[in-house]
């Protein structure tokens, strides 16, 4: 259907911020890197021009704020800690990393991605900032973007924890790695500290036996069955709080879980209930069918502008629905974008698709913030 957009963002790797905000609302501070300069730097690298800034500075890392500039090394390491430190990145939720990874592998993966993407981030002279969600307003017309407000988010007690970050065995700790950017393995949100939260997971499983729905409805307290309305038993459990539709063919749909593991656990509990009722239920072909996530970019968005520039992907009809429906092609995710800055992402089969979609949309949305 829609061909490539005429004003498409530059075809860079997905984690590179493609869209350049036309107005630079940030005050230029010597110690800080503005979004604009970072983008220009990475463009310069791409174009093989001589970068106007020091070659030590990484063009790729937008904002990694270190409150303690004298110890960039330790802060670099602390950034790699997933959950141990309560440092600047305590609010960065890395739980999206696949659970199969052990703690060590997790760190390894994070380190590898950090190496490949944050080469020169922590040099002596640099101070860059992670725009963590802070207590300040970043509504339209606000010159104080999240950058300048990240300071308020940091805890004063972090300095100690940062110092005591345990050494990583796998970390070669050479911040001055090569400049060539490589695609990171795990999508850590680099352009912002905002991580979409999963709200709903829909999964299906095959119990592989014919079921007597009347019997299930009779013997189970948490089941409702109204054959005139719907041809399945609706069963609910309290922990994890989910709902299941159980069909007489033995197929089951489980909805309402907040994570893949919870969905799987819930589905197993339903299968166990059915088993206890005397059916030879098994647990075959468990599959996540849909994942829904949501987050808040914390600034108002000009939806009219967005639909003008991205009309091949967007559909905005205020007479019908207050949000803009953005159908992203890669990954294939549908986003509902609202003027308040809330974004709902749906249609994913994997968690990474949600994160990737948000990484892609965030720079676009920043371009339509109140300037």
């Amino acid at each position: 259907m829609p061909s490539a957009p005429s004003r498409a963002p530059r075809p860079l790797a997905y984690w590179v911020i493609p869209q350049l905000p036309t107005a630079d609302p940030l005050p230029m501070d010597e110690e800080t890197e503005t979004y604009l300069e970072l983008y220009l730097d990475q463009c310069a690298v791409q174009d093989d021009f001589v970068p106007p800034r020091s070659p030590l500075f990484s063009p790729v890392v937008p904002y990694v704020y270190t409150p303690n500039p004298s110890n960039p090394e330790t802060t670099f390491n602390s950034h790699l800690e997933s959950k141990e430190t309560s440092g600047n990145f305590s609010s960065v939720d890395l739980s999206f990393l696949p659970d199969e990874l052990t703690q060590e592998n997790k760190d390894q993966a994070v380190i590898r991605s950090k190496h490949e993407t944050e080469e020169n981030s922590e040099t002596q002279s640099q101070q860059s900032r992670l725009p963590l969600p802070s207590g300040q307003d970043v509504g339209p017309g606000s010159d104080s973007s999240s950058l300048s407000n990240s300071r308020s988010h940091l805890h004063p007690g972090d300095a100690n924890s940062i110092q005591s970050a345990p050494a990583k065995p796998n970390c070669n700790s050479s911040p001055l790695a090569s400049i060539t950017p490589m695609t990171p393995m795990t999508p850590v949100s680099e352009c912002c500290g905002i991580v979409p939260q999963l709200q709903n997971i829909v999964s299906t499983v095959n119990l592989a036996c014919k079921l007597d729905l009347k019997k299930i409805a009779l013997h189970a307290k948490n089941a409702e069955y109204n054959p005139k309305r719907f041809a399945a038993v609706i069963m609910r459990i309290r922990e994890p709080r989910t709902t299941a539709l159980i069909f007489s063919s033995g197929k089951m749909v489980c909805t309402g879980a907040k994570s893949e593991e919870q969905s799987r656990l819930a589905a197993r509990k339903y299968a166990r209930v059915v088993q206890k009722l005397g059916f030879p239920a098994r647990f075959l072909d468990f599959k996540i069918q849909n994942m829904v996530g949501s987050c808040d970019v914390r600034f108002s968005i000009r939806l009219e502008g967005l639909v003008l520039t991205h009309q091949q992907f967007s559909s905005y009809e205020p007479e019908l629905f207050p949000g803009l429906i953005y159908r992203m092609v890669k990954p294939r995710i549908v986003l509902l974008i609202f003027v308040s800055g809330k974004v709902v992402l749906t249609g994913a089969k994997e968690r990474s698709e949600i994160y990737e979609a948000f990484e892609n949309i965030y720079p676009i949305l920043k371009g339509f913030r109140k300037a």
Binding site: D93, D99, D137, G139, P140, G141, S300, L320, K370
Partner: protein
Amino acid sequence: MPGGGRCPDCGSTELVEDSHYSQSQLVCSDCGCVVTEGVLTTTFSDEGNLREVTYSRSTGENEQVSRSEQRGLRRVRDLCRVLQLPPTFEDTAVAYYQKAYRHSGIRAARLQKKEVLVGCCVLITCRQRNWPLTMGTICTLLYADLDVFSGTYMQLVKLLGLDVPSLCLAELVKTYCSSFKLFQASPSVPAKYVEDKEKMLSRTLQLVELADETWLVTGRHPLPVITAAAFLAWQSLQPSYRLSCSLARFCKSANVDLPHPASSRLQELLAVLLRMAKQLAWLQVLKLDKRSVVKHIGDLLQHRHTLVRAAFQDGMGKRPRICPTPTVSTVTGDENISDSEIEQYLRTPQEIRDFQRAQAAGQAATSVPNPP
């Protein structure tokens, strides 16, 4: 060479099949005598070989315009005439309808959907020519449900791969305000309520632009904003007589429906105006409220660009900054499920008996006819 044939003239057996003007003939290759001529098929003989084919599998569909499509095209033209659209719009809308009808999903749709499709084609035509037609108007004219309309509209846009521009706000203001019956005195419009059309139009337009700048329009239905803006514009042109008139009364006099969100939009617009008034020194001392600010709308609009910049430089729409800490769950999905946990969801045999008894009693009660 077919076996057994002999030329009646020369008796040779060299008979060849040849076709003369596509009619097959058996000809003797020695003397050239035509032995048999091809049989002209008769429809009667051919009919024996025919088989029934359903209309949908024949090519008949493509060769003629079905009655349903004809009716749809007629409806499109009628709708364009009712809306008094320019003549070129009719042809475009008809073309869209025909294009949509090429798709099997539309051809097989219910009549209700085909009816709504008529409205969708007209709406798309109008949108593309910046003619301010709202979906509400079309739904009212077609007696259609907005939900059905929206589903069909989205489907049509996707199917035809169309680029439909958004509703043109300025045009909508002009059309909508012109429909207000306030420009001439009448039994329902007292003399003091009559207003000059141009003055009201220009002021309403300025107020709508102000609302757009201050984030009151994005994401919302455009019409209630325009109603609220028109009301304020009208009030501010003669505040001494009109401040006592409410929004509902205004709409009644103007013979226009009052959309429900219009009162909220009105409050929001007044709040914006009050914020702007705080930036003007001579208004600051007056300590304006939502009623008295109406008297100064003229001044505020005159300087609106600077005032908006001044009033909203620190960002508008401050939202409470609550950072929801992401709850990290440590579920692996493979935990052991205790029997007791599952048992809590099962009924005991006694409970089952009670439940069955209650069910039977309930059914008996509903099936027993009421005593006279």
